[in-house]
Symmetry: none
Subunit: 247 residues, 2 copies
DNA sequence: GTTGTTGACTGGTAAGACCATTTCATGCCA
DNA sequence: TGGCATGAAATGGTCTTACCAGTCAACAAC
């Protein structure tokens, strides 16, 4: 009720220039409030789009955009020819790689377990699916890393690019997106760890680079098993190195 | 480029009744992939809505709905009179299992690839780490599922609880949190798929239950390999079943 | 009672038209 | 030359109308 009175007669015509933000947003908010409040419960059918148009005194395009928001939030589902229905609750909307304190080795273990699992799987897929262009990009990152080491830099940026390039070679956007999130979080930890130590551990970098080369070779050969194995070894060692940084 | 050629002139007009799921979803997916891949970077301006219309050969309503999804995902922001811009999404903050259109089998494939990877890994870990209490909870879910089938219910809630209990047996909060998110998204898709079909496919449930039992046995035995194998087979079949729903 | 058909209704999409704002090149003025 | 008004073009936001294909229930025929 308050809704319709709030939205009808809208402001678009009252020359004063009243500020109203995005009609679709308001409607989406209102509908989602009705759902949350229980006025519309699971399985219920919403009024038809055309009915909502008259209720809110807006065009169908606006209503559709509002509904589209609710759909992408998973609050409702539309069935062509039938109607729009309220779907089940529980918005586990997003996943966050939880911040864990660098000093807690147990937590580090848990985080690495997930990281290793996914990156190893991604590397295996990449070995099967990588294109020549992918290989070129990976090699570029590899050489960049080489150069960084020779320049006495830490090369963590290049390291990141190497892993990133491999994941992109899976050509699976879900893997890419998830690994971006994971690696970005991991990098935070590494940075934290490195800032806690003075020495450069440059000697470790050679080991890192060898492991990278092994991964690259497996990818080049398209050998899934070898790629997975190399990635697994690399990440296992990486977590050991992180512990050294933390020591 | 490949994009436009993939989507232009699409199947909507070829009377054969080709299945093409939700144009807006496809376009949103494509644009968000371009952003993730770096083809469009932060601050860049997207082509105008009218340009996108011609590029994708769809109406403006479709383009606007696609953009509205990206907006609510925080990937882009629109400025009236100016254009739509890529916002500073920091992949650090969160990961979202992106909505993929239920009828686009290619996308489904990609999503399942990630889902299978993670759940199989989780099951393997659970086989190694499950406590007697974990087993009890898993068995309870298994029996609940049995009961649901006998009651001619779909039992998708029980199904979810079964998987949930397994993942919890990893005792790794990151796995638990990620799988919760993934499975919640997957359930939405399954619900959508089922809402698009009339038949109940109750016969399939027996197969599901057999696969569940195999997983449980492996977990009970603490046999990591068998658990991973059983989970892999189950999820592979699950994705086949989803395709049946979509058919 | 069962079956088959019909027709109203629904979401999905298309196309064209305004509006208010932003943007930028133009040209005027100091 | 430099700064400032100006106006046309482009853009997102909204509205309108229209058609399509799917759904679903009432109704007619058997």
């Amino acid at each position: 009720m308050s809704v319709s009175s709030r939205l009808t007669h809208d402001q678009s015509r009252n020359g004063t220039g009243a500020r109203n933000g995005h009609l679709p947003d308001e409607i989406a908010q209102d509908l989602s409030a009705k759902i949350a409040s229980g006025a519309l419960s699971v399985g219920d059918r919403l009024p038809s789009e055309r009915d909502l148009c008259t209720q809110y005194a807006v065009s169908r395009a606006v209503v559709r955009e509002a509904l589209s928001q609710l759909k992408s939030d998973g609050l409702v589902a539309a069935r062509a020819g039938s109607g729009v229905y309220v779907t089940q609750r529980d918005p586990t909307t997003s996943f966050r790689f939880q911040n864990f304190s660098v000093s807690d080795l147990g937590r580090l273990e848990e985080a690495m377990e997930l990281l290793v699992t996914i990156e190893v799987a991604a590397t295996r897929i990449a070995a099967k699916r990588r294109t020549p262009e992918d290989l070129k990009k990976i090699k570029r990152a590899l050489i960049g890393m080489e150069y960084a080491i020779a320049s006495d830099r830490l090369g963590d940026e290049e390291d990141y690019q190497f892993h990133q390039a491999i994941v992109e070679a899976t050509h699976n956007p879900h893997f890419i997106s998830l690994c971006q999130h994971l690696e970005a979080s991991a990098r935070n930890i590494i940075r934290q760890a490195r800032s806690n130590t003075k020495t450069n551990h440059a000697d470790l970098m050679d080991a890192v680079q060898d492991e990278h080369k092994a991964i690259y070779k497996a990818l080049e050969d398209g050998d899934e098993e070898a790629a997975a194995e190399a990635a697994s070894r690399h990440l296992y060692n990486a977590s050991k190195r992180i512990r050294i940084y933390l020591a």
